[in-house]
Every structure is written in C-alpha cells, then in structure tokens.
C-alpha cells in the first residue's frame, strides 16, 4: 500500500526528478547567476505556477483553459494593492492633491481609497484575498460552465473571452486599478524593502519553496482517487457520470485549485518584479502559459517547470537579438511540440530515460513489487474464500 510520502514524492523516479529540479533551482542557478539574472529566473518560476496549474487542469483533467492569466493577474493585483497602499503613505505622497492615496488615484481625481481597497491595508487579509478571490472567481465561472456541461473548445473560448474582458476592465478603470500602466512603484512590505539584492534572494527562495509546495499539493491530488478520476473523465466522461460521480463537481474543484496555484504565482511575480500590469492578465500571457506547459509536457508537473524555464530562456536570448522574430518562433515551437512531441520534454525524457541501465533496473524493481503485492493479496483472498 502507498504511504503518504510515497504519494507525494511519486516513487523512486519521482524522487529523482524532484531532487534534480531542487538542485537546479535551489543550488545551481543561485550559485551560477548574478542577482539580476536570478531575479529573472525567479520571474519565470512564477509563470511555472501557472504551467503547473495547466498540467492539473489540461493535461490530467482534459480541460483547456486559455484564461489562466486572469488568475495569475488577480493574485498579482491583490499583492500589488497591498504594496501600493504601503508605498502611498502621506509623507511620500505629500505633493498630491490628496496625500495618502495611491498616485494614480490622485491623477484620476479620486479623493479617497475605494471600498474594495480597504482590506488590502492588512497583510493577513491580503494573503487571504490572494488565495480566495481567484478561487471564488474560478468557482463562479466553473459552476456556470460545468454544471451546464460546457466543455472542450467552448470552455477554452469562454475563458479566453473572460480573460480579455478582465484585462479591458482593468485598463478602463484607471482610477481604481492604475489602468494600462498597472500598479507600479512598489517599495516595501511591512517596512521591508523588496528592491534590495538580499530581499531578491529571499523572495527567490520563498518563491521556490512555494513552487515545490504546489508541486506536492498537485502530486497529492493526482495520486489520490481524485487524480485517477480526472484521467478517467478525460477519457470517458459519460462512464464516470454513470458510475455515480457528479462530474461537474470534480471539474469545478480542479479549476479552483488551478486558479489558486496560478494566483500564488501572480503574487510572487509582483513581489519579485515590483509591479503588476494588465499585460499579464489578458489573452497573450494566458496562451503563453499553455505553451510552457505543452513544451514541458502537459502530463508532467516537473516537466512544466522545465518547459517554462526553457521557453523563457529562449525568449530572453532571442528577443534580445531578434525581437520581431520571437513571436513567430514561439508559435512555430508550439506547433512543432504538438505535432512531434505531444508529451513534451517529459515525454522525451521518459522515452529515453528507460534506456539508461541503472534507471531501468530501478523502475523495474518497483513495478515487480507492485505486481507481487497484487499476486499475494489475490492469493490471500482466494484462500479466504475457500475457507469460508
């Protein structure tokens, strides 16, 4: 029988994968890169949260959301609102008509902080909002869609439309949201300057730990009966329904978890990059995240992280030299992955890793153990039956 640690680590192969990823993120990258580059990596790793959520939702659940950017954005905005309020104390905003409110509100003739900004004066409430607001939003969308059995391409289009609506709304409500510039000039969190090098190192590690936390959470979900049901639903939704499950409940839950994971990424983005803007909410970022997950392998949690890092590394390198070609290259990459490597990097790894001798032996041993367990239990139950 599987123990909890087995479930979270995913057996021997899972431990190896996690250890390599941890080594790369926690040791190799921080030692090998200067703080400017490491901060960039930290930014990419916040996208990995979204890619991770898509592995749950799309890879395992078969639900393609083209609007995960909105949850990333909501998480990011919640964090940015807190930091902005802290940065807008009456002393540093004394040249404004109304000191003590965020600068963009002042420019838009607002004289008081709007009611929905009030909770963001408190850090605990902000952290709660980061987790809860996107989840409730996802619950409403999920309930409306999945209870009516909207799925597949229709769901993808609707999520995309909602992401677009949200980004337009944010741009349009300049006085409340900072408009197209977003929320900028974020300085401190409870007096702690987040712009210093040491703060960037700490935030990078906090981000990494949270990312591993989300990987463990996703692992737990995927290795439970819930995960098996997700695969079953992707394969034969009708059969699951006629086995006595309310399929929509499972989809809504997955969508909510995916939203929450994306939002954590968004909040960490704001902290590490120092601003949040509508350009991370709309269609383009949402689709980019899908590409990260596809390149990494949409079935693999760890693959999603590598996919995100790799595509963003490519983006940085290429857009420095050929900025106008990058989008075409990324589109081409997506098509190539879907056509030739539908399981992405993780698929390529799994295909070839089996040929490495010691890995092969390792995995084979584990399989044998499982088979033995079945065989012995089967025998036990037969003899029991005979006695009875």
């Amino acid at each position: 029988m599987k123990t909890l640690s087995d479930k979270l680590l995913g057996g021997k192969q899972g431990v190896l994968g996690l250890a390599l990823l941890a080594l790369l993120i926690m040791v190799i990258l921080p030692l090998g890169l200067d703080i400017f580059r490491l901060n960039l990596v930290g930014k990419y790793l916040t996208y990995a949260f979204v890619a991770l959520s898509l592995v749950l939702l799309w890879g395992n659940g078969g639900i393609l959301s083209l609007g995960q950017g909105m949850f990333f954005g909501l998480g990011g905005y919640c964090m940015a609102m807190f930091l902005k309020l802290e940065a807008s104390d009456p002393i540093s905003t004394k040249i404004q008509t109304t000191p003590g409110i965020p600068d963009f509100m002042d420019w838009n003739q607002l004289t008081a902080i709007p009611w929905f900004w009030e909770p963001f004066k408190s850090l605990p409430l902000t952290i709660l909002a980061i987790l809860i607001v996107p989840t409730i939003f996802a619950y409403i969308i999920g309930f409306a869609m999945f209870k009516r059995r909207v799925g597949g391409v229709y769901f993808a289009i609707i999520t995309q439309a909602i992401a677009l609506i949200l980004s337009i709304l944010i741009v349009g409500q300049q006085g409340f949201t900072g408009g197209v510039n977003g929320i900028t000039d974020l300085k401190t969190m409870l007096g702690w300057d987040i712009r210093t090098d040491s703060a960037k190192y700490i935030l990078y590690y906090v981000n990494a730990i949270l990312l591993f936390g989300c990987i463990f959470l996703s692992r737990y979900i995927l290795t439970s009966k819930f995960g098996m049901l997700l695969l079953a639903m992707r394969d034969k939704e009708e059969r699951v329904r006629f086995s006595g499950y309310d399929v929509s409940d499972f989809k809504i839950f997955t969508f909510c978890v995916a939203a929450m994971i994306s939002a954590i990424g968004g909040a960490m983005f704001t902290l590490q990059v120092g601003f949040m803007s509508p350009s991370f909410v709309g269609i383009v970022p949402s689709i980019e995240m899908v590409i990260f997950a596809a390149v990494g392998g949409r079935m693999s949690l760890i693959g999603a992280v590598y996919g995100t890092l790799l595509v963003n590394y490519g983006k940085t390198v290429f857009s420095e030299t050929y900025p106008e070609l990058w989008l075409f290259l990324m589109g081409g990459l997506f098509i190539a992955v879907v056509m030739f490597f539908p399981d992405g990097l993780a698929g390529i790894y799994q295909k070839h890793a089996r040929k490495i001798p010691f890995l092969k032996r390792w995995v084979a041993e584990e399989k044998q153990k499982q088979t033995d367990a079945h065989a012995s239990h089967g025998k036990a139950s037969t003899t029991l039956g005979a006695e009875a």
């Binding site: 029988m1 599987k2 737990y220 979900i221 439970s224 009966k225 819930f226 098996m228 049901l229 695969l231 079953a232 394969d235 034969k236 009708e238 059969r239 699951v240 329904r241 006629f242 086995s243 006595g244 499950y245 309310d246 399929v247 409940d249 499972f250 839950f253 499982q370 088979t371 079945h374 239990h377 089967g378 139950s381 037969t382 029991l384 039956g385």
Partner: protein, 247 residues
C-alpha cells in the same frame, strides 16, 4: 401510480424527438432477481429505453419507478447511487488506466470531491476488486493497461466495473457484440451467475444467446411493446414473426 413489488415499473413512458416518438406510452415491469431481455428491430427504441431509465435522456412524459422511487427527476449520478448500473453498447472503459484501476475507480466509496481526495485503498476495496476480477475472468490481467485487452475482455471489464457498485438493477446494452462463440458462452454463464441477487435488463440481437439467458423476453417495435413472455411464446407470436424474426 401506486407502489408495487416490482423492482422497476415503467408506466406511460413517452419521449419524442422533434415530434418523432421514439418511445410511445411504454409500460414495462421487471421483477426482483429477473433477467429480462429486450429485443426488437433497429430503431425500435431499445437503447432509448435504457437511456431514459439511467437519465441520459429526459422523458417527455410518464413515470419510471425503481423500488418505488421516481427516477425521471433525478440526475444521472443520483440514479446510479440509487442502485442502477448501465453498460454502454460500445465498451466504455478507461483505456489509460489498468484493469485494477478501472475496477477501483468504480468502487462506490469516495464519490464526492473530498471523499475521493481522502480515499484509502483499504482491504475491503482490494478484496472486492479481486472478487470481481475473478468473476469477470480478468484476475490475471489486473496490471494490464485496459487499452490492451481484447474486445471481449473490455466488455467483461465494463460489466465488472458495474458489479463493483453492487447495483440492484443492471442494464446491459448488447454485451456480447463482437465476441467469439466461446466468449459468448462464458458471458452467458457470467450473466446467469450475476442475476442471482439482482435484476438484469439485457438488450441483445443474438437469438442463441438470448435463449441461454432470458427469463422473459420483451419485444419492442416502434417504441411500443409488441409482445412479452417466454422465449418460446414470443418466437411463436405471429406479430413478432412478421416485424422481426421473419425478416
């Protein structure tokens, strides 16, 4: 409609698709522990009746009572939880999962979101899986990916997935389609065993197979019952010969 001793009582059931009445004022009663076979020419409404019972299609009018509980207003999963199991015409199994997992997923515990997250593979689950696997002759294939099974084995696996739920009413849509002669015999034995403590409704075309299993046969034609009774009686019925067996 008053309460009855029947496990399933269908009265005045009608469903129309754009004016076409696929099932027309149907009355059908199934006893406890009975194995009923429904036959009829193509388009007679056989599969539609099963769809109506299990909630896949909503009826236009009429009533379906299972153990005196009205099913027409319930959602699909609620009907299943009430004790009705349904096998589809084409084998409907989870190809990516192993035989063991296919059976385990069908175990009727941990059916809610939180229940499934906290579900433990306890001994009673495993015992039930092995018991059913033995029943459906797939004991030696537990670790095999379901996609690799033969067509006949897939049909058995789906029956096994239903047995995991211990339904009181089991509905099978063409369970021996695409099976070899030997597999048909084995399936007939299987059905005769599993109807010991539950009612079974089978839709089937293969008359040899029907003879082996049926307690009672219902002949459907154009959404209505044409004849009902023992296989011999039905085969001798002139109306039946005319529309169906005579062809």
């Amino acid at each position: 409609m008053s309460n009855t001793d029947f496990i399933l009582a269908i009265e005045d059931l009608t469903v129309s698709f754009d004016g076409f009445k696929a099932v027309d004022k149907l009355n059908l009663y199934v006893d406890k522990n009975e194995l009923r076979v429904v036959i009829g020419p193509n388009g007679a409404g056989k599969t539609t009746v099963l769809d109506l019972i299990c909630g896949k299609t909503k009826s236009t009018s009429g009533s379906i009572k299972f153990k005196n509980k009205e099913l027409t207003k319930l959602a699909e999963h609620e009907i299943v939880r009430a004790g009705v199991g349904r096998k589809f015409q084409t084998p409907s199994i989870y190809e990516n999962l192993t035989v063991y997992q296919n059976l385990e997923v069908s175990y009727p515990r941990g059916r809610s979101v939180w229940g499934s997250l906290l579900f433990k593979r306890s001994d009673d689950v495993m015992t039930q899986v092995y018991k059913v696997a033995e029943e459906i002759l797939l004991k030696d294939f537990l670790d095999m990916e379901a996609a690799l099974l033969s067509h006949g084995q897939k049909q058995w696996l789906e029956i096994g997935m239903l047995l995991m739920q211990e339904p009181e009413l089991l509905m099978l849509d063409e369970p021996v389609a695409g099976m070899s002669a030997k597999e048909r015999d084995q399936t007939a034995e299987l059905l005769n065993r599993i109807c010991q403590n539950r009612s079974v409704i089978v839709i089937e075309h293969d008359m040899e197979f029907v003879k082996k299993i049926a307690h009672k046969v219902t002949v459907l034609h154009q959404g209505k019952i044409l004849a009902e009774g023992s296989m011999d009686k039905v085969q001798a019925d002139e109306k039946v010969i005319e529309v169906y067996l005579g062809h």
